[in-house]
Amino acid sequence: MTDEREARVPREVDEAWIEAATEHYRRLERCRAVLADRAAGADVTVRSGDGLVEIVVTADGAFRDVRIAESALRSRSARELSRTVLAACQQARTAAEWAQEKLHEQLFAGFRYPD
């Protein structure tokens, strides 16, 4: 155990510590529920660079929709289109993580874990 961590984590536990720890757990549980609820309801839409593919993903990472423009079917080969869809999905995942972080910042700006 590092000296720094040793200084933060108590060596002895009393009833007050247990009560605070259980309350802290409940508070985190509520925070997780709020974040999960808000993230599940926040859609993020990502469009491919050529504008032919759109991916809709929620902030918790669930893919909701894939929209492919009609023109893509005429102007792109199946292989090209597959690459575009895959790239858009990867961007959508990154965007979902970014959105979840933003939601976290908005909801819990003042929240601090115990030192």
């Binding site: 155990m1 984590v9 002895e12 259980t22 757990y25 409940r26």
Partner: protein
């Protein structure tokens, strides 16, 4: 030479048995690192109400890592060496006392002075040949029991780590993004908290029966009667138990 000492017959050259090798040192660093993560996660994420860890915390009054560190850093060889030294002293006292009786018998004088001497000598002789060796043996046996009990604690801690050190809870805890502070940490905090509590509760459960035996050991008074010479093995010899006096 064998003498009746305290609660049993011990040879003059009796020595307490050394505690068994617990091999805790081989895993101590990894064990303490894991339980350091447990302590940190319990501190950072709290404890789930109703989880077994809560009862353990009330009972042990310390976080699992702190308990483990205290056990790891205590060497059972120290009380055992002290017990061994006491047994050596007992042998020396017995060896010194034996010829004194013969010398006293050969005294070539009689009368009131001799009677007075005999009265005092009888008391002193009994102390040298029985009382003092019995006290030394009792203290030595208590020290040996203490050493064996500590070895039992260390073995229990080792067994805990061998069973849980690479289990699912340990993996959950070690792969959690502890300390990152963002959404990922918050989302994973529940899993990490439960993993830490599971590991802590398992650690307490492993130590609990051996610690309970320590209560019996604490009640046993050096010099008391009725105890065994050495702790007896229990559970296939993995955990040592000190029988109540």
């Amino acid at each position: 030479m064998t003498r009746a000492v305290g609660d049993g017959i011990l040879p003059a050259g009796w020595r307490p048995a050394a505690p068994p090798a617990d091999r805790l040192d081989a895993v101590a660093d990894d064990l303490l690192d894991l339980l350091d993560h447990v302590d940190h996660a319990l501190h950072r994420y709290g404890v789930a109400p109703g989880h077994a860890i809560v009862a353990g915390l009330r009972e042990f009054r310390a976080l699992p890592g702190a308990v483990a560190a205290a056990i790891v850093h205590t060497d059972p060889a120290v009380p055992w060496q002290a017990a061994h030294d006491l047994a050596v002293r007992r042998s020396a006292v017995l060896a010194a006392a034996a010829p004194l009786d013969r010398y006293a018998d050969r005294l070539g004088w009689a009368g009131a002075g001799r009677a007075a001497f005999d009265g005092r000598w009888a008391v002193l002789s009994a102390h040298l040949s029985d009382g003092l060796p019995a006290s030394l043996a009792a203290a030595a046996r208590h020290g040996a029991r203490l050493a064996h009990w500590y070895a039992g604690l260390r073995a229990a801690l080792r067994d805990f780590f061998l069973r849980y050190g690479t289990g699912p809870a340990a993996v959950d805890l070690r792969t959690a993004p502890v300390g990152t502070g963002g959404a990922a940490e918050l989302s994973a905090s529940g899993t990490a908290a439960v993993a830490a509590a599971d590991l802590g509760a398992a650690c307490f459960a492993a130590l609990r029966p051996v610690l309970a035996d320590g209560g019996a050991l604490r009640r046993g008074v050096p010099g008391g009667s009725g105890g065994r010479d050495e702790p007896v093995a229990r559970g296939g010899g993995r955990v040592l138990r000190v029988e109540p006096e």
